[in-house]
Symmetry: C2
DNA sequence: CCTTAGATATAGCCAAGGCTACATTTTTGT
DNA sequence: ACAAAAATGTAGCCTTGGCTATATCTAAGG
């Protein structure tokens, strides 16, 4: 427990900003999935998959558009920009790796599925690399 | 990718509610630490450790009180209730276990410290138990 | 003892992410 | 072609968690 107050503040700040971007990552990932399955991401599907009301999904899409992650025309589906695709791809990789690591460490599949969703947004690149190395070692 | 839309919605709901309680857990954990070190948790120390402005900390304390997790009298320090202590203790255990698991899996110490803060709030009891078993096995 | 510095309280602002209720537009089915 | 159903848009409300600015109270120092 010998880390100073400043390090502690840094950790909390990091966790806070990760929480803030977690939703955007979830949306891009979901939109990528829906587009792959159905050719487009409809607002109503987004809302249902996220378990929220559609106006909430509409607001989120507005924000995605404002941040340059998605595009859409009135009464039409939602599509990712290149930046959005990149974020979705990164999220997908991270998600899969976290899930695999949980399994490798002995977490039951159902729990791993549930928990990976929350954990993935807090895994740094460095930690992710360590996960990858650990998994490779195990398989090798 | 064969999980239905409903499971997906459940996962997202779970992650959302965990995000909501994450801050409360962070505060109780921090207040417990400060109380242990200084005999009481001053608002100004809470704010500095969290890296936020003190009115924000004051609001958070109000919420802790409203939820029955802490008590305080005007212009005095903040103290945890039994429920607050319990939450802090649980958070501490989880935090330590997550940190240890990250180390065991090969994550460098600094990254493990940083990431554990965010990850701990998304680890279910079942996953936690698996972590514990994994660590025990490694030591044994 | 009384001033001043430090800590706490309070008011009011903002954005995000939920919601319901209602309006409009598209799609579908007869 | 048109009525009904489904999807989308929009308005307005709430809570949370940030912030700054200002007021008040407590604690320290001279």
């Amino acid at each position: 427990m010998s880390d100073g107050v400043d390090n502690q503040a840094d950790r909390f700040s990091k966790a806070r900003s990760e929480r803030a971007s977690a939703l955007l990552e979830d949306y891009t990932e979901l939109i990528a999935d829906l587009t792959e399955e159905h050719g487009e991401a409809r607002l109503v599907d987004i809302a249902r998959a996220m378990g929220i009301a559609h106006p909430t999904a509409a607001k989120a899409v507005s924000r995605l558009k404002r941040e340059g992650l998605a595009t859409s025309r009135p009464y039409r589906g939602v599509f990712l920009t290149e930046a959005g695709e990149a974020m979705a791809e990164k999220a997908r990789i991270r998600h899969a790796l976290v899930f695999d690591l949980l399994l490798a460490v002995g977490v039951p599949k159902e729990a791993a599925e549930l928990d990976a969703e929350g954990i993935e947004h807090h895994v740094s690149d460095e930690t992710l690399a360590a996960f990858e190395a650990f998994l490779k070692k195990g398989r090798g």
